[in-house]
Amino acid sequence: MENILLDVSKTIVNEAVREGYDEAIVITRYNYNTMAKIFNSQLSVVQKWVDYSIELYLAKDKRVIILSLYPSDIESTARLTLKEMISRAKSIQESPFYAPIPEPKRVEPLTNIYDSRVLDAIEDPSKLVELAIEASHRERIDYVAGMINLWIRSKTLVSSKGAELYEEASGMQTYLRAFSEPDGSGQWSYCSVKLEPRGIEETALIAADYAIKSRGRTGLEPGRYDVILSPMVAGNLIELVASMSSAFSMLMGMSIFMKNSPGDIVASDKLTVLDKPRDVDLPEATAFDDESTPTFDKPIIEKGVLKTILHNSKTASLTGMETTGNAGWVNPHPWNIVVEPGDYTLDEMIREVKRGILVTNNWYTRLQNYVEGIFSTISRDALLYIENGEIKKPVEKVRIADKLPNLLRNIDGLTKNIYNIMWWEVSIPSKIPYILVRNVNITKHLL
């Protein structure tokens, strides 16, 4: 596979230069993927993908063109598109985001990012599906839904500056949602570079446990509460915050950090958030970014202080900084997110709460204003009321409706256990603890 993809990429880069482009990067991807989806404790659909795709970054006289192609014939489609798009460059002005493609640097390959057992499971995932259903039903739940996703991905990157890079990685992801009548439900997720049936089993057990614990819900009055965010919820909100550390988000008016600089205090000193592309536990681990820059692990927020704005070469050039190995040709982004653990157990954390709630899952986080971080998100699944250090009862759905800067400042504790999280609402693989936040505004429908 390596030679085939590299040859295609090199041919297209050469063709781009012949066609008159000053610079080109070609990323060619091969994706082999099976996803088994579960509902009502049975299979709903098995989906299998075999895709070749190609992405091209092209610059001509500092004008920028980006192509994303899933063609049936890569070379001829790329050739035709190169011809078609060169005239476009004459019609647009120099991109204010233009910067030369970085010179190739030595890339230290990642080891241990390919597990051949994933390939076997892609061919036949039935045992994993059976495990997910069986493990969920060890508790007295009624049914389980969810999915198991398994993939092998290869990518090559070739640039007109001479970079020639290849990487092959495996990955898996699962999330399960267990239901227990009349109103109990719990959801959890897991992700890994390697095939980890234990991860599926643990996901099933946690989801089922929360489903049982959340039966017989009663209402909760809106107001201010101390809130324990589960790794599922904290993962969703931290992903939003980490993505706002992208220089592009700031330039687009989509970040609470628009008025901040590295060195500013933006959160409680208990919070450290890292971008860890070289963490080979997490399935977006990669040795190089989309501009061929070697990746490296870095703090985004360290002990409450904003440490790193994420850059590609373009945003770095525009703001007088260095690339941080997070390209995205347009939008620099985190690869894998890790929140450093604290020193609480979950039970100890609950004992710290006089009047609060444990929010185990959420969805639909939306913002009124990205610059000020005004947002709300609605809980789903188990929501447990805590009084005087003990879980008292399950309660009905509420919203966290507050400002992200307030949430970050009011973090008062993290657990020592962290969890690999990835699902619909946490798209970047993340290692996240439970996080205690004080004095959070909680709302619910008024009518």
């Binding site: 709903s44 989906q47 019609s91 839904a145 008016g253 986080t365 005004i374 609605i378």
Partner: protein, 493 residues
């Protein structure tokens, strides 16, 4: 906007080749044991121009084509996609998915069966009045500079910090074939313009508005949207609210909900909970379930004014289609009718479970996506009031014209919309702006408290997300302005 149904005159040899390979996939799957087989050639080509404050950051071009193949084997459902379109690759892909679906069929408790359907054999295309190629690329670039010029010169107290504009045109072509005899060849061009305006005032802070305009057809829509006037109006109204906006009243009041918000509400709290696959639990771990349960047809959900229709066949609509991706002819679906739950959105599987006919709700985003139950163009049925008549007997209330933040729970019951452009109503007249009123309400309370709707039906474009992997499909959401009585409004703290 004119929709012409006509036979498509693209290169006959290409069409013949594509038809042959989708038929090959279906025939071969049936020969090796699939009870049902379906193949969809699906191509989308697109071009995008992206600017910040009038400067083009780059040009984007997308092109994707391939075949999505779906089979039922031993009562289990399998889907695969491939973008190598030679016979051997397609036969290999069919063999693998049939084998894998058969292996996984042991995880089934209830077999998947599709309802009988009178599937179509047809070719159609949406014909643009002003096709994309009739306007030069230079003029499309110029649009970005013109709009920035208008926004940046708006007569406002605040400063425009950011104006992002994304112009996108696309053409989608599909050939859907299945083992029940469907053969549908369609071509749909679409236009979309999105913008983000951020204004900043030294004392009052910031305010932000995202908006998307979209339709099927061509560049004629740019005139229809009055986009130049529109961006100026939005910037001006945002400034008015930011500088002069007061807190909303805390007592129980009447609320006139603007058509932009009404469109979103019917999409979220009628369209989504009416998806029969969601009701049956197929999306339970993703988009969630529904407050509507099987057997609730005929139950009351709102007042007599609450009629919500989903209609894929509206000419020019962003969610336009005449046949769904299972080959079933499309028609309007009356989801809520005069306050009663009336009809759900069905594909052929949910129709079988319910013992009804599919109403053509199966859509797939691209060749890599399985067809699932989706909305198309969902709207609240207009009434017979004028806007002034809606306001006329409101003693104290607010008019919420637009929004930014919203969300709804995973059963589509408890929802929240935060107003952006909003005004106080006193004694039947619009008064000063109101900042960030919060409508946080249950589905039943919303529809039950509607006591009037005006005649002015407007549609808004969106990309609706559902499925795993996530599929975003184009939709319209619409409605008139509607009046709610006796509502408590919240505030942003």
């Amino acid at each position: 906007m004119v929709i012409n149904l006509r036979y498509i005159c693209i290169a006959e040899n290409v069409v013949k080749f594509l038809e042959d390979i989708v038929l090959l996939a279906v025939d071969y799957a049936r020969r090796i044991g699939a009870e049902y087989a379906e193949a969809r050639y699906h191509k989308i080509s697109s071009e995008e121009l992206f600017s910040r404050n009038g400067d083009i950051l780059g040009v984007g071009k997308g092109f994707e084509e391939g075949i999505g193949i779906r089979v039922i084997v031993n009562g289990a459902l399998g889907f695969t996609s491939i973008n190598k379109l030679d016979r051997d690759s397609i036969i290999g892909a069919v063999e693998k998915i049939v084998y894998q679906t058969r292996a996984l069929s042991r995880c089934m408790k209830e077999k998947i069966v599709f309802s009988e359907a009178r599937v179509g054999r047809s070719k159609y295309s949406v014909v643009a009045k002003k096709p994309f190629h009739t306007v030069s690329f230079d003029d499309k670039v110029k649009l970005h500079r013109e709009l920035w010029s208008i926004v940046s010169r708006a007569k406002i107290e605040s400063k425009i910090s950011v104006f992002i504009l994304r112009y996108s045109e696309s053409i989608e072509e599909k050939i859907v074939v299945n083992s029940d005899g469907a053969f549908i060849h369609s071509i749909t061009p679409r236009l979309s313009v999105m913008y983000n305006i951020v204004i900043n005032h030294p004392e009052k802070g910031t305010m932000q508005k995202w908006e998307q305009l979209g339709a099927s057809g061509g560049l004629e829509w740019l005139d229809d949207w009055r986009i130049h006037e529109r961006v100026d109006e939005i910037a001006t109204s945002m400034d008015n609210v930011l500088v002069k906006g007061k807190s909303p009243p805390r007592e129980t009041i009447d609320v006139v909900v603007g058509s932009e918000i009404v469109g979103l509400i019917v999409h979220e709290s009628c369209g989504h909970p009416s998806e029969a696959d969601r009701i049956l639990g197929r999306e339970a771990a993703q988009a969630g379930k529904s407050f509507i349960k099987k057997g609730m047809i005929g139950e009351r959900i709102g007042s007599e004014y609450a009629t919500v229709i989903d209609d894929p066949t509206i000419p020019g609509s962003y969610g336009f289609y005449l046949y769904d991706d299972e080959g079933v002819p499309a028609k309007p679906r009356y989801l809520y009718r005069n306050g009663l739950i009336n009809e759900h959105l069905h594909n052929r599987w949910t129709a079988y479970v319910y013992g009804v006919e599919s109403n053509a709700s199966a859509r797939a985003m691209d060749y890599r996506s399985e067809p699932i139950v989706r909305m198309a163009n969902t709207y609240f049925k207009p009434g017979d009031y004028s806007f002034d008549e809606l306001l006329e007997d409101v003693k104290l209330g607010i008019y919420m014209k637009s929004f930014m933040e919203w969300n709804i729970d995973d059963e589509r019951w408890s929802q929240r919309y935060v107003g952006l452009e909003a005004y106080l109503i006193e004694k039947g007249e619009l008064k000063e702006p109101v900042k960030y009123p919060v409508l946080e309400i249950t589905t039943k309370s919303f529809y039950s408290n509607v006591d009037a709707a005006d005649k002015d039906l407007k549609f808004y474009a969106g990309t609706c997300g559902k499925g795993e992997p996530m599929q975003g499909v184009p939709v319209w959401m619409g409605g008139p302005n509607v009046r709610l009585r006796n509502i408590r409004i919240g505030v942003v703290e």
